[in-house]
């Protein structure tokens, strides 16, 4: 997938100016928050449920190597062939090899964020294999050649008119804006693909170490199709997807669907143990599982960032984020958006090219409060900023430019002593006064330029807080 994380500011502006997107973003958070809060209220103790979710994910990530080994052993016993990939290129090569060996012409795909990360569809299509995303939202963004707007609803922002035109182009159907008919057009088109595909590719929501079971969560039935109709099922998962026990998985399921879509459970949850048994009427004859590192082991090795691997990709941090719900998903420039995107994109792509993502956060902590996996996003944003300031290179960071460093060290020096602070604030007010236009400072020269590019400062008032404080105290003592 094209990486455009450097264009955050530009894309955020585009998002803010897009009227139909603003309309969707006005509805979406209210709707999802209402559904989520109601769904959690049906649990005997919602707080305990979230804390337990955090405990399960923390435990799973802490014991990752041991659990991966246990899972591999059990899933292999169940008849699944496990293959390991160290990076995206490896994983794509494995899928392509499997497809070519089987002379696969058509692939139906279930939604998988990991496959978006590695650009699997593009690779398959480039090798001449017809590859169809089959989750309706993913199908739409694949055909429209767009990144996902939202982890759960990749195309929720698209106006119906655009989708209607797209379907005419892609399927050669009669144009309609009737919602039911649009959905049925997709149903008819993809149905043929499901029944003719030789290979189904899906992600994995949870891998249960204790039983060697892959748990797949969906509402549409496209994953059930992709894991039932084709002869070969290929599942791909990041190393972080493992959970210790079935009981843990069932608890996480309660949290996942509630956090995602406000459902107590999704329409379909499939528990895949392996290929069809001899007497089974249908089901895949062979099942492959590709376990992908793809930058995760590097995150794992860093104790400060390891907790991001606890993420279960539910999308609830997006729905509640004051930034995401204004600028929308495209601004983040890659697979993940919102608070989780502001952490994952930098750690997977490199800190330097994703700098604006972890600065464009209000640190309000709503993301943390709704997270069912115990992630403290604001802490991670601050860690990323700190690493950048230090010029830490672990995650592709670079030292900030000399002007920024000088400004910051001067700032620190100035704040270090009361007298310097007083003098500094007086000088600053004098220095910026010539740039006030209509009660606001919109641009500053030199080191202030970057700062004011995306922010307006209010005109400094006549007196500083300290001046006023002294005046008030003085007036009091006089009286």
């Amino acid at each position: 997938m094209k990486i455009e994380t450097e264009r955050f500011v530009e894309k955020a502006r585009e998002g803010l100016a897009n009227e139909s997107q603003r309309e969707v973003l006005a509805r979406l958070p209210v709707l999802f928050k209402g559904l989520r809060d109601y769904a959690f209220s049906t649990l005997p103790d919602a707080r305990a449920a979230l804390d337990t979710g955090a405990a399960i994910r923390l435990d799973a990530v802490a014991r990752l190597p041991e659990l991966l080994k246990q899972f591999e052993e059990n899933v292999t016993k169940n008849g699944v062939t496990v293959l390991w990939a160290s990076d995206y290129a490896d994983a794509k090569e494995i899928v392509l090899k499997l497809a070519k060996e089987r002379n696969v012409k058509t692939v139906t795909k279930g939604k998988s964020m990991l496959s978006d990360e590695m650009g699997l569809n593009e690779a398959l299509i480039a090798s001449g294999i017809d590859t169809f995303e089959t989750d309706l939202g993913e199908f739409i963004v694949q055909q429209a050649k767009r990144p996902p707007f939202h982890i759960v609803g990749p195309a929720v922002n698209m106006p119906v008119d655009e989708i209607a035109d797209l379907f005419v182009d892609v399927m050669g159907v009669e144009r309609t804006t009737d919602l039911n008919e649009l959905n049925m057009q997709a149903r008819r088109f993809l149905r043929e693909k499901f029944l003719s595909a030789e290979m189904g590719i899906t992600g994995v929501n949870m891998a249960v170490a204790e039983t060697g079971t892959m748990v797949l969560v969906e509402n549409e039935g496209n994953i059930r199709y992709s894991t039932s109709a084709p002869k070969t099922h290929v599942a791909i998962m990041g190393i972080e997807k493992v959970v210790p026990t079935m009981t843990d998985a069932l608890h996480m399921l309660r949290l996942l669907t509630r956090s995602c879509t406000g459902q107590a459970i999704s329409s379909y949850v499939s528990f895949i143990n392996g290929p069809k048994n001899e007497d089974d009427l249908d089901g895949p004859e062979e099942v492959f599982l590709i376990i992908v590192d793809g930058g995760r082991s590097k995150i794992y090795a860093d104790p400060e960032f390891r907790e991001v691997l606890q993420c279960i990709k539910c999308g609830s941090c997006l729905n509640s984020c004051p930034v995401w719900t204004k600028v929308g998903g495209y601004a983040y420039g890659w697979v993940y958006s919102g608070p989780i995107g502001a952490v994952l994109n930098p750690l997977l792509l490199g800190q330097d090219r994703t700098k604006d993502l972890y600065f464009a956060t209000s640190l309000c902590g709503t993301c943390r409060s709704v997270c069912p996996a115990g992630i403290d996003h604001p802490k991670l944003f601050l860690k990323l900023r700190e690493r950048r300031a230090r010029g830490d290179k672990t995650f592709g960071g670079k030292k900030p430019p000399i002007t920024e460093r000088l400004t910051m060290s001067t700032w620190a020096w100035g704040l270090g002593k009361d007298s310097r602070y007083r003098l500094g604030s007086r000088l600053f007010r004098l220095a910026v006064r010539p740039f006030v236009r209509g009660g606001k400072i919109k641009t500053l020269p030199g080191p202030g330029r970057g700062f004011t590019e995306v922010r307006d400062l209010p005109e400094p008032p006549g007196k500083t807080f300290r001046d006023r404080w002294r005046d008030i105290l003085g007036a009091k003592s006089d009286g």
Binding site: A48, L58, L179, G221, H251, I265, S267, F271, D280, A301
Partner: protein, 218 residues
């Protein structure tokens, strides 16, 4: 492809990473509990209704008639019936034929079965268990019980025995473990197939069934 060097070096890297600094908190259970079967049936029906699924309660001898009614009410003309034992003992196949529906049933080969899945308006299958907490059906796939029969036709009618309603998913997996069951796959089904991917508007029947009826045999 049997190269294990990637696996080994990855696991080695993970194992040599610093160990955890935070101890995980206590894991608490949030499972619901029900005083009796009637309470479970009530919860099952209520949660199923939220998804637009329909519950029809029928004493054993009326089960076949309830299946027929459900199908005719929804306008089904052709139906695929899975080749499971209750279909004969409950008299489902005969009743459907008598009602004038075009029935595909019995031992058919994989190709004919697949064709029937696409051609039929409705699929009639059993559901091994029901889950009271969420109005969920546990479809355990295997001999006679294919995956596609409850997925491809637009209408799905599931026959569930009341005694097989369990309080929650935890109880289901405990039961399966105790029975030593090892299905290649099972699906939890809660209501019809659904999407809201276009304009946040919920639509039933995007890929799987748009209509789900559960006939509860008591």
């Amino acid at each position: 492809m049997a190269d294990t060097s990637i696996r080994d070096s990855l696991l080695k890297r993970l194992s040599s990473a610093p160990s955890r600094t935070t101890e995980p908190g206590e894991k608490k259970e949030v499972k619901p509990s029900y005083p009796n079967l009637e309470a479970m049936v009530a919860s099952f029906g209520e949660k199923l209704a939220l998804t637009t699924g329909v519950l029809k309660r029928a004493p054993g001898k009326n089960a076949a008639a309830a299946v027929c009614d459900a199908l005719t009410e929804l306008g089904a003309k052709s139906v695929l019936v899975s080749s499971e034992e209750p279909m004969t003992t409950l008299g489902v196949i005969d009743a459907l034929k008598q009602a004038g529906l075009e029935v595909t049933a019995g031992e058919i080969d994989a190709a004919a079965y697949r064709k029937a899945c696409s051609a039929c308006d409705a699929g009639v299958t059993t559901a091994a268990y029901g889950i009271a907490e969420t109005g969920t059906l546990a479809m355990i796939f295997g001999e006679g019980h294919g995956r596609l029969a409850s997925l491809v036709p637009f209408i799905h009618v599931a026959i569930l025995e009341a005694k097989n309603i369990l309080p929650h998913n935890e109880a289901l997996f405990e039961k399966l473990a105790a029975d030593g069951a090892s299905p290649s796959a099972l699906s939890l089904v809660t209501g019809p197939s659904m999407t809201a991917d276009i304009a946040l508007t919920p639509i039933r029947g995007i890929h799987g069934p748009g209509k789900l009826v559960v006939v509860l045999v008591e």
